[in-house]
């Protein structure tokens, strides 16, 4: 046994970034295997947005006035951007519950004792959730097409919209990761991951025309990061109901959505990884 060294011991000089990627992929694979073995979770995750599409489209469809039209097919086109965006935010709950479950079962302790990149457990989880979000969006898009949703732009713009949705969903899973690390049970992470989403998604332009809200509420809605993503999708899909508001995020929704998402990732990733490491030596 060599004497205690003060200097950090020499290690195989792995680039920390490539180690993070590699370890994250190992953890992501593990989470994807898990998801494939609990298909009911994935299926419930799919049923919920589909239910929303059907309910909103057929129940509210005829009674909404969008862009001066009460035509129910107009509302369906308006609605879909909102449903897509809301669906990706639900990944928050999944990520939070998954991480809380790992803590609960002692798996986080196992990971913490391994010589792996510190951020990899959380990054792997959020990447796996990203895959699930992509799958959900795909199924949802098919259902939307079936109920009459159409895009009126080119394929590049449509893919751009889905890209922004995935980015937003990824950002929200980092919020979920922080919640998952902060609560004691997976159940708490699920509800903690969902409740605040309701005001965020409803005080927005997602389901109603925000220009008809009372001024202060409208202000919140216009600057709500969630609204920026919805607005960006409407613009990129060529769907009706684009808010005429002159608030900056409403005028530049694609940029606004991207910037918001990146900011959320930076802030919440930092907080979550710090929390993951905290308490450990």
């Amino acid at each position: 046994m060599s004497a205690v060294t003060d200097a950090a011991p020499a290690v195989a000089s792995t680039n920390p970034f490539s180690q993070l990627i590699r370890d994250s992929l190992v953890v992501a694979k593990r989470n994807l295997i898990r998801m494939s073995r609990i298909p009911e979770m994935v299926i419930f995750g799919l049923i919920q947005p589909i239910m929303f599409v059907v309910l909103f489209a057929y129940v509210f469809g005829g009674s909404m006035n969008i862009a001066g039209s009460t035509d129910s097919s107009t509302y369906r086109e308006f609605l879909m951007a909102g449903i897509f965006a809301q669906t990706v935010t639900f990944a928050t709950a999944g990520a939070g519950a998954g991480i809380a479950d790992d803590m609960h079962k002692g798996l986080i302790d196992r990971f913490r004792s391994l010589p792996m990149a510190r951020g990899a457990v959380l990054t792997g989880r959020t990447l796996a959730d990203l895959v699930q979000t992509a799958l959900t969006l795909f199924v949802l898009a098919v259902v939307a097409l079936l109920v009459g949703w159409r895009t009126h732009t080119n394929i590049g713009e449509v893919l751009g919209a889905f890209g922004l949705l995935l980015l937003a969903g990824y950002a929200f899973t980092w919020i979920g990761a922080l919640i998952g690390l902060s609560v004691r049970t997976p159940e708490a992470a699920t509800s903690g991951g969902l409740i605040w989403l309701f005001p965020v998604t409803f005080v927005s332009n997602a389901f109603v025309d925000s220009s008809r809200m009372t001024p202060w509420l409208r202000h919140i809605a216009d600057w709500n990061p969630f609204s920026a993503t919805v607005q960006a999708c409407r613009v990129l899909f060529g769907n009706p109901g684009v808010s005429p508001s002159d608030a900056w995020p409403m005028q530049h929704p694609v940029w606004a959505s991207a910037i918001y998402s990146v900011l959320i990732i930076l802030i919440f990733r930092t907080l979550a990884v710090r929390k993951y490491r905290s308490d450990t030596a």
């Binding site: 950090a8 290690v11 370890d23 593990r30 302790d109 196992r110």
Partner: protein, 343 residues
Amino acid sequence: MPGAIYAEGLVKTFGDVRALDGVDLDVPEGTVLGLLGPNGAGKTTTVRCLTTLLRPDRGSAVVAGIDVLKHPDAVRRSIGLSGQFAAVDEYLTGRENLQMVGQLYQMKAKAAKVRAAELLEQFHLADAADRPAKTYSGGMRRRLDLAAALVVSPPVMFMDEPTTGLDPRNRQQLWEVIKQLVSGGTTLLLTTQYLEEADHLAHDIAVVDHGRVIARGTSDELKARTGGERVEVVVHEREHIATASEVLSAFGRGQGEVAVEEHMRKLTVPVTGGAKLLAEVIRELDTRGIEIDDIGLRRPTLDDVFLSLTGHVAEVKDEENGAASAKQGGEQDTKQSGKDTVK
């Protein structure tokens, strides 16, 4: 020069609970330290501090020559940990679990695969290797968790109650694995509730209570501190207790008192003289017409050490433990039951 595991003055409080109150440890390289102590003594907290899972409030620790507080990442490369509760992913198969751990130890995917197969074989999990771990029995999970700790054969291992919940055959086999590891130079810190296990595996034993090491030494040293051998007799008739007591006190060592447990009809007396003396006691009792149900020469077990040091019972323990046989020598009866694991 500090050993492979070295700790000085570890203190850790959780709110009002002082879980560690100045733990000192020194485990020479290639040896096994058995950490014994009653529930809540601070064994797990000690292990967690040494394996970088918990930051002690005070004190210092060095593992494999690396300062735990300064270079936790480097420490993680040199240790294997099997925690008190099996930490395996229930939805992954045994094989997938081990492969994942191997890869996170920075093994190449292929090497991790080969290693996983070896470990599954070694821990008798090959038949269940491709079933999700949630279909495993408690003991199988435990073994999978231990296998995960051994993926890279790190120089320093920590095992927190490794054999809790294992059946005797698997316990024996794990002991063999541990002995093999240690003969290969691995240093091991092992906590256990099974005193027999510490006796069997550990070179040194540290008894912890209330967050402090209250005794340390080899198993023999600790037993010697607790006192020598004793004769235990269970008489058949309650009326014979008084006479038997008279007989025994004549054989007693020094001013050793005869301890009587009335309801068990059991008498105990410290003696010197071993088997020869036992034979004399039996003859004398026979001459006096005292019918006996059981008689035995009992050497102190680690149970006794534990009891006398901590004033607690190591585990749910019953009266027949120890005296139930006339077996000679240092045989220890152990009860492997009753340790409740709270999940």
